[in-house]
Symmetry: C2
Subunit: 396 residues, 2 copies
């Protein structure tokens, strides 16, 4: 660090320079994030010093958080669901599985079986979690952090998790299942009703990762069963900082029952409140205010318009691609498109280097992936398709 | 959620109302956080959509993060220390201990001993971590999340961790030690040089929680050995969103060596970069820009002035309290004061209810705790002391 600081002007120049090196979202078709709504940004600024880690000092912001949880709970068919605003989907997933694991390990069934048996290779039986093969990489972090074995269920032809595969992976050490409402790579929705039935039958938890889809599915014309309406669903992750148009870091984790949240408890002796259920300590109140502002400004109607526009753009894109004989790997459910494109890694690279477009790649099946976020326009799609055509023509 | 959204004006009114219910820091003497610096707030806004979870899109912001790590590394006597900007001290502590645990479990010594023995009550040997009894509650979260046994070493008369107690708690399953540079309750600094020597002798990790003290100690007149200059120190947590005057969420975690960071690796197939070491996925770039701006604006000189003013106010407070026969439990090392006050729980409660002052309580020993942050003024102290006197007089 310098002895003396730089001037405001010098700092402004460096920041402007750095900002210039950041891509604008208008070139980005690879991300599930977008520009936050202006009203979210204004609220974020107004509440910039607010700290939810010490919410006895910030009762006003804390009440906004309670309102948000109630609004989102209601959207997901359980207005009294309990939880809190997280830093995003990864924290939500970690905490949901941590709660499952802790309750499983404390259960009398587990205690009895652990005391009476040991397996043959002299290791302790590890709790396991059954997840779709399409699960977000955050579940790899979850597995490592919490020491929970990840069992990956295979996908069917539509890239939904296979219910038979899930069932075949469950054993007496399975703490729960994960279902995805809007998979990261394909935007697909798992057969959550069937998984809910299995979870009830086996008396295990079911966590729904709706980090992306939670702010899309409730606002689509077609109705999807994915939330607390299904009795087997015990927790849901949903991210306002994706299609919710809020600022980073805005995630939400909701549990069906309080005892699930309680399993995450830490005593906090020198703060204004004596108990904390969150992963982090100090926690952004600005993101709470931002999320409150945008959710109340848009209302269901506003989110319906946002989703509708994204779907319209998605279908417009698909029509134009059809004219070029380029087809999606599956019929898109949401504003996520995975395209069957020859040499897609090379195409992706050339799109970035020659035309300054950011797209991504799906692993299996291998394809070119685009997310049609609210910052996308018809002109962007026209321009992108024209550039894609140039590359594909050059490959022939 | 409402069908139709509210108007901008309605939202503004609700937010203003909520802000009014949040306390202003001018009434707060209990918190290690404060108003972020104006230049940090401006930078935060400018970079509000920047997402470090996908930093291939935000190369400008990413370079600012690298700069920050280099500046802080240099401040802590290892300019090439590796790490990243976290959501705060809790994430930093979780990730530091997770790295220790993973490397310990992967080590050949552990593998050999685990294969050859099992203990008598049929449970697997659990890794343990030796921490001072004064450790922040985030270590309780660490213990639960990572399944690491917390062994709490006792404190000496000055509320520093006892080196003998630490030594007595180390065994073959000890993955490392934690030392605190600026304990949350008392602002005390542990004998980190001695702990560094033990860590080297036992070949175990030593993590320094300098979440608060990291932005105080380097800027004090007296010099403290607490950082990478001590060869046994293997990781450090330091929070720009405390005395660094940056916005929430701004934490930093630094490791001595890259293999420590590498033990936290997750593959990230559909982002712009293929590997991630962070706890969260989506991650605030705004906090990166904010931290860069304030650190470069203040420079060492600016932080020295900040710390010097806080210490001046701390001593002013102590002088006034001495006139009232009120003394600190230990001689304050930093701008954290724990006072010996009769019926301190009652006093705290009355300070809040009758006089609208927020202070906190230390557990053991039991006392009234104040943190003299940059938002404190001489007038605030005069006013607080007068109110405290009224309460203490009424108790006689």
């Amino acid at each position: 660090m310098n002895e003396t600081g730089l001037s405001e002007e010098e700092i402004r120049n460096i920041l402007n320079d750095s900002k210039g090196q950041d891509l604008k979202y208008e070139r980005v078709l690879s991300s599930m994030c977008t520009y936050p709504h202006k009203i979210a940004v204004q609220a974020h600024m107004q509440f910039i010093e607010s700290n939810m880690g010490d919410f006895g000092l910030f009762r006003g912001t804390y009440n906004l958080e309670k309102e948000i949880l109630s609004l989102i709970g209601d959207l997901l068919h359980k207005a009294d669901a309990v939880g809190y605003m997280t830093t995003g989907g990864t924290e939500s997933n970690i905490q949901a599985i941590r709660s499952m694991r802790n309750l499983f390990l404390q259960s009398s069934e587990y205690q009895n079986s652990a005391n009476s048996s040991k397996n043959s290779d002299n290791k302790c039986a590890r709790p396991n979690l059954v997840v779709p093969d399409s699960a977000h990489f955050s579940f790899d972090k979850v597995s490592d952090i919490l020491d929970v074995e990840l069992r990956k269920a295979s996908l069917d032809d539509e890239l939904k998790v296979s219910v038979e595969s899930v069932r075949s992976l469950i054993d007496e050490n399975t703490i729960g299942l994960v279902a995805i409402a809007g998979s990261t790579e394909f935007g697909q929705v798992d057969p959550i009703k069937e998984l809910s039935d299995i979870a009830l039958e086996k008396n295990i938890f079911l966590h729904v990762d709706a980090a992306f889809g939670g702010f899309v599915l409730p606002f689509m014309k077609k109705s999807y069963e994915f939330d607390f309406k299904l009795p087997g669903v015990t927790s849901i992750a949903i991210d306002p900082h994706k299609m919710g148009l809020s600022t980073i870091p805005s995630g939400v984790l909701l549990f069906r029952d309080f005892h699930q949240l309680e399993s995450l408890k830490a005593d906090t002796p020198y703060l204004t409140v004596s108990t904390q259920y969150t992963l982090t300590g100090t926690r952004s109140g600005a993101a709470v205010a931002a999320t409150y502002a945008v959710m109340n400004f848009l209302g269901k109607e506003g989110y319906r318009k946002t989703v509708s526009r994204c779907m319209e753009l998605t279908h417009y894109l698909l029509e134009k691609l059809k004219d070029m004989d380029v087809y999606p790997l599956i019929e898109p459910v949401m504003n996520v498109v995975a395209l069957e494109v020859p040499k897609c890694d090379l195409v992706r690279s050339r799109l970035a280097k020659e035309f300054n477009w950011q797209v991504s790649i799906t692993q299996n099946p291998h394809g070119l992936r685009l997310v049609i976020m609210p910052h996308v326009s018809f002109e962007m799609i026209d321009s992108f398709v024209a550039d894609l055509k140039k590359i594909l023509d050059s490959l022939e």
